[in-house]
Symmetry: none
Subunit: 227 residues, 4 copies
């Protein structure tokens, strides 16, 4: 009994170590990194990795599931915190900051978003997205986020910025200012009708935005310089 327990504890520890290392290895080198590298850096034999995760895909998936679950748990914690605005923006900021060190997870977030093959990871990803959607709604009800922003585009921005943040030359400073711009866009009341860029967030089903044509054609009718 005791024996069994101890062995399991050891194995569990190994499993966790492998996951930790894999998160780092796949983070740095993308999922193209070799399983052997994971084994080496985890200090175990290659077969041990395969004992815990029968295929490489299973290993990658386990890494993602763990990561998505952690993020979702964090989001749930923030849901309960007072201050819906800070909760939303804080989570957004945290996730992007975290992505900076877990490089290819952004890629995974990215890849999985449309991939339906990876069962569990997909589920965990969707759960995270759902919770994030709740954070968004709360923040909108609190007036901290404009009402016309919807989950698909906001989540796309979350993925986009976290992915961008994983680039090594994007330091913390740049990242913060990048987010400040996005956050202004999210918070900002669509002031007056005249915007310099001609896009409206509330536009739907309009096919191609008119901007491109206008721009190519040359001078837009909108005033170029604001008073």
């Amino acid at each position: 009994m005791m024996t069994g327990r101890v062995q399991r504890v050891d194995a569990r520890a190994n499993r966790e170590r492998i996951l930790d290392v894999a998160e780092d290895v796949f983070g740095t080198g993308g999922k193209a990194a070799s399983t052997e590298e994971v084994a080496r850096r985890a200090g175990v034999g290659i077969a041990t990795v395969f004992r815990h995760f029968p295929t490489k895909a299973a290993l990658v998936e386990a890494v993602l599931v763990r990561r998505f679950d952690r993020l979702r748990t964090r989001a749930e914690t923030l849901l309960a915190a007072p201050g819906a605005g800070p909760a939303f923006y804080g989570f957004f900021t945290e996730l992007v900051a975290d992505a900076a060190t877990k490089i290819a997870i952004g890629e995974a977030l990215h890849d999985l978003a449309g991939d339906d093959g990876a069962g569990e990871a997909m589920a965990a990803s969707l759960a995270l997205r759902r919770t994030f959607g709740t954070l968004l709604q709360q923040a909108q009800r609190a007036g901290a986020v404009r009402d016309d922003a919807e989950l698909p585009e906001v989540y796309a921005l979350l993925v986009a910025t976290s992915r961008a943040a994983s680039q090594p030359h994007i330091d913390e400073d740049v990242r913060t200012r990048m987010l400040a711009i996005v956050f202004d866009g999210l918070a900002g009341k669509p002031q007056d009708g005249a915007r310099p860029h001609g896009l409206r967030s509330s536009d739907r089903q309009t096919g191609r935005s008119g901007v491109q044509g206008v721009m190519i054609a040359g001078a837009p009718s909108a005033p170029d310089r604001r008073p």
Copy 2:
């Protein structure tokens, strides 16, 4: 002589065909796609590909250089067009829309951004960035983009959104609305001091944004609902 000339013309045509195919192949399948696939779809022998591009990396680089150059040329054209604001936003929109179909180029833009190994492609990438910087300055001078936004973060947003747009489940509609938010953030006057998210684009060198701590601590002093 004639033969030589003809062969050269043939070779040049081959080179272009290979580049076209490679752009598509690496676009669809990522740079993990095989060189043999490129050769097959270009209708040439594998050795011909390696005759034109001594390594796979060289082929990928040539694809990127051509792509960056095209984008830069487009940016230069817009620089001369009247209407600095539409020029900037239009180019941004175009590039993101284009990325949606050239999937892995966004990845490359991404990867290269910090990579200094890839000589020519890096140079082309920097040239594009520089031209984009000029577009930005013009737009700022025209009042179409807030003054406190600087190239690093704006370029980061360009990369981020173009990468996000390459995901299959991001349709044109979502892409447009995502950009609308970002563009509002770029255009928007930093209204009053009280922002719901607590980030200021003009903050520099401040290490960690204070948001996180505040948020975790709970209720911020700032009013949650705006009047």
Copy 3:
């Protein structure tokens, strides 16, 4: 033109050499033998083997197809020869003698017989069986083989004896005498009703033969010693 032809000739030669070697390697070691062994003994790189045969199964199948085709061709030649009896028995003898040196091919004949996964090889095997069936019918019409023997059991005997002949300790002498017994059984007029073993070839659908029960029960009614 010339160039292309020459290359193809070389490649064809390599292909044949690989097949020859594979026939030997899989013959000696069973299909469990490694592809690398085939490559080494063929004097080519492992990748060359896989270039010609995309999977190991394809290689094994190609070996079998070639072998079955050769045997069928031989059978067809004999079909045209005068003397249906000698043709039948001669083919039987030849095939068994040949199997003695192509060890595991007997195994393949064996395995394939019920296997429907291996497309081409299965087809080639069936073609051989069909031609052998014609040889059998001719021999029966010529009175050289008893009329009540049918293809399934005769073919089973062919497979069985060729497989047995592949064992190293079965020398030619033993093989010949083993065949002599089988051939006597095939040729032999079902003499009188009283056989010492109690089985009749013409029995069909009789479920279990009665022999076993009788034997276990003890003394059969049939006379034990023949006059």
Copy 4:
């Protein structure tokens, strides 16, 4: 003491269970089946299998020894039964029928026959062969088997037919008729000199049988149809 005894009883039981399972596993999947599969289906840990049988080869050997011993015991029982003919043919039939369900054992019988590496199994195999030889002699003395048949070829036929019977598409009906032909060959008085196949069981040391040459040459002088 008590503990030791109990443990030993348990261990013995485990050993038997492992052997039972192994007989089935190696029977179904060939000896390529994995040891882990045996352990799993036996409900023990993999290490327990290796405690009882130090190598996989030892396990396979133990399975074979047990099987050969059982067959030999059965043969010995039949030796004492009245009716030497039925004893011989019955044993032959039983063994072949049994092989139909213990697939790869036929293969093992086969493989071992010439293999001198597998000590105990080889010995058990030889013991079986010896006992079978006695059955044969008795049957010959009883006139149930022709006098000129000797053990090597008869045993070869036993192995050959049992191996053939293990093929899934050889049903009981075909198996019985295949045996009927062989048994006719074994029982049959070498009638008159003129056989359609030209082989004589009593031929020894004659190098190649003349049949092949004759057949290839074409029309034999012997009449093709018997009067």
